[in-house]
């Protein structure tokens, strides 16, 4: 069971393979982002060089799947054919304080009509999509109850 219905575009690795470690990681339940080997700057999304010191030594580091909601939207209007008659869904932009406050997008699991609070703690949930030609795993988020 996935949060959004089947039929949305499937993510694939870029032809230049820049983001391959990220997508390989999610398949294994590991969340990876970039960190500079020269100056330790965290970087997300992936890029070939460090935006802080221009080093090419960008490394892929596993990070704990925890963060807090930095911003969000609840989408009502179905902009994609797969979302017709689906109803509202929530997208959250989550920042990872233990990884330089990099941000990543996901859906907020649970009731799509729930109240959403900026700053709320969330934990990552790996959502496999196995029934496609090229299986992939998305990183979703749910409210971390124990922290409240």
């Amino acid at each position: 069971m996935t949060y959004l219905p089947a039929g949305l575009p499937a993510p694939v690795t870029e032809t230049d393979r820049l983001d391959l470690p990220y997508w390989e990681g999610t398949r294994q339940g590991v969340l990876k982002v970039q960190r500079c080997g020269a100056c330790n700057t965290w970087q997300w999304g992936p890029e070939w060089l460090c935006h802080h010191c221009r080093s090419w030594d960008m490394r892929w580091v596993a990070v704990e799947g925890r963060g807090r909601i930095w911003t969000w939207t609840r989408c009502w209007h179905p902009v994609h054919p797969a979302l017709r008659n689906h109803g509202p869904y929530i997208a959250v932009l989550v920042e990872l304080p233990h990884a330089g406050n990099v941000r990543m997008l996901g859906n907020l699991l649970g009731d799509p009509r729930q109240e959403v609070t900026i700053g709320a703690p969330v934990v990552a949930v790996f959502e496999p999509h196995d029934d496609t030609a090229a299986p992939y795993t998305l990183v979703q988020w749910r409210i971390e109850r124990s922290a409240i």
Partner: protein, 395 residues
Amino acid sequence: MTSEMRSLRGKVAIVGIGETTYYKHGQSPEPEFKLALMAILAAAEDAGIDPRDIDSFASYSNDRNDPSRLAAALGTQELRLSNMQWGGGGGGGAAAVGNAAAAIVTGQADIVVVYRALAQGQFQRFGRAAAGGTVAGDNALINPYGIFVPAQRYALKFMRYMHEHGIGREAMRAIAMASYHHAQSNPRAVMHGRPLTEEMYDASRWIAEPYRLFDCCQENDGAAALILVAAERAKDFRHKPAYVLAVAQGSDHRNAARSFNAPDFASSSFGPVAPHLWEMAKLGPEDVDVLQSYENFTGGVLMSMVEHGFFEPEQANEFLTLDNLLVPAGKLPLNTSGGNLAECYMHGLELQIEAVRQIRGQSTAQVPDAHVGCVIAGPMVTPVSTMIVGSQETL
């Protein structure tokens, strides 16, 4: 410091404006290329020039109408500048004017048309995603979560901004209502005859929170064009010239960092751009008589106005009342033709045209004695752009 030599101030004038009829998306009876030609001919007629004398073309937002084909179709005597501003959306509307003006000042062009044409029935709509397939790169980190279109992407920016600055819904509503109000006196406006009330706004459906239907621009078919010449020739044309006092383009630090990682993500992208505008214009926000500010979404207008210095974020709720935004007596009349929300979403080029009309004294919602007009092109994208036009008296 921008030196006198490195300034556009007063060196170029807009002497012709032209538009086609504006249609709801998909309803143009004419194909897009023909719309472009019609707007260019209308602008030439307005300027009182032979369309074959237009030697240069400038556009933005990946406009599909290639200057070489336009020149062949128009019988252009000599093609000089063919210029395209990078970046999607309406962010390049003022930059296209700036690029054209720069070409004139540096001797690369004499008569430039800035144009934009859209026929979304013929091509894909902006507000709808294509079905199926795969996505890579930045979109792979976004689209699988159901985030595709500008309304959703820019909802994320403004939701955060509202949180940080305590912005109320009434401020957004006032922006929407100002556009609809002004459209009621503009027979060209697609929403002419369809006024918006507070109740209609409040009851309208959500698109992507915090945006309701009336916070979002229309999608339209049509075309618009402006003709620019060097200031020393400006009085040889049919109408009172509108002089370009300043143009600035760009965006803030690492604006396009993937996966919404721009450091100043909750912004309209004008932070470092607007100061260049005021410096070149030798004016400040307090000097602006009338403002055209691109409404992709009401929240973008609000952030654009803050970043241009019209008010502080904490003053937004107080400043953005309907009365303050209306012609003739408002503190800062906004989007006097109806703008993207209610006149036509011509990717903002209709806003440039309206700014010229205000300087000429020909608007259907005329600001008395308008000498300085500011036009802010599409916010929240990268790069963005912005410009100031002025009357002869401002030179």
